[in-house]
Amino acid sequence: MEVAGSSDSGLVSRILAGERAAEDELVRRFSRGVSVIIGQSLADPAAAADVYQETFRLVLLKVRAGEVREPERLAGFICGIARSLVVEHFRRAARLRERHEGEPDRQLPSPEPNQLDQLLRQERAVLVRRVLSELASDRDRKILYRFYIEDDEKENICADLGISALHFNHVISRARQRYKKIFESMGDASRK
């Protein structure tokens, strides 16, 4: 439940009043969501971390300066800044590429996955095999395959396999839930 002081407009008012705890609360509350938005467009973790930090730096500057015109839509304001910075990142990267066109790129990272990437990849493979094995039928496996590998649209899959949208949602949702549960149990095991 949202308390009055923690509503979007309440948070903006508290920051404007110079309350430092409100700034921490803003970062804490929107931190993960902003990471998801940035990560959706930026695969490079270092670039994503830079954009993430710049997003909160700018958000706090603008909130302190009273530049949030609709305080009740603070969430939308933050999303907008994150998206703009992602676009700016790509523009800057494109300009840099143009400037250095033809020059050897001495800092090109190795395309080989590192040890951690390999481990995570193997871990995901184990998870998905377990999830797939637990699906009730070949038809359900086909649904996952066509949805995740072939990028087929839900409507086409339902029409071809003669299933309802409800059944489709059920299969995808069950697969996600199982995947999450197994993933969490592996995380718990590794912490023990």
Partner: protein, 214 residues
């Protein structure tokens, strides 16, 4: 935006696949940026999608077969037994990398430090219980040096952590990312110094910190 609409219109998967129109995407982001349940669902959908793709690619590469949808699904099912064994064999390797993995997967915790506000009184910082990055966004005049050094210094002048070669984010701030495992409860000072090209250091800011456990 309510969760029944999100479920009904498959917004989670369409978002992950990047097929939502711009206006729907913006509206959905405005909802989930503050919704832990949707963030969880997005994480899981992303990871599952990636895992299915990797699993098929791996089996394709090892078998060299020409794949059809049915063959792929069948082989994925057969691979189960080997996969389950693998889970236990990799346990020890995973635990070694577990803290690194979690620190990478969790978003960093960010604390803004301003010279006008945080240079005189200690800033209380709660060290996260789980491993993750703690990022101090220090507002300084960052135009004077091209690189900076940051150090966490204890009450007796001992350095408990330091990093050199930090570049400014902007003319008025630098980011100092510290793994939470390097922070310990107590009174410290985050000392930011400008690095001259020849290596000498000039202190540009000192931020007293009171590090606490949750």
């Amino acid at each position: 935006m309510d969760h029944s609409r999100i479920e009904e219109h498959n917004l989670i998967d369409r978002y992950v696949r990047g097929t939502l129109p711009a206006d729907e995407r913006a509206a959905f982001e405005e909802h989930f940026v503050d919704c832990a349940a949707c963030q969880d669902q997005i994480d899981v959908a992303k990871s599952l999608r990636l895992a299915v793709r990797e699993s098929v690619a791996e089996t394709r590469a090892s078998s060299g077969w020409r794949w059809t949808a049915i063959a792929a699904c069948a082989c994925l099912g057969i691979a189960l037994a080997a996969g389950s064994m693998f889970l236990f064999e990799r346990q020890s390797a995973r635990s070694e990398l577990a803290s690194l993995r979690f620190s990478l997967e969790r978003p960093p915790v960010v604390f803004g430090l301003s010279l006008s506000r945080d240079a005189s009184e200690p800033r209380t910082v709660t060290i996260p219980a789980e491993p993750r990055w703690v990022v101090f966004l220090a507002e300084i005049d960052a135009t004077r040096y091209s690189r900076y050094r940051a150090a966490v210094v204890g009450g007796r002048g001992e350095e408990t952590w330091s990093k050199e070669g930090i570049e400014a984010n902007s003319p008025d701030s630098i980011s100092v990312p510290i793994p939470s495992a390097a922070l310990h409860p107590g009174t410290y000072t985050l000392v930011v110094s400008g690095q001259q090209p020849e290596g000498s250091l000039t202190t540009v800011a000192r931020f007293p910190l009171l590090l606490a456990v949750p």
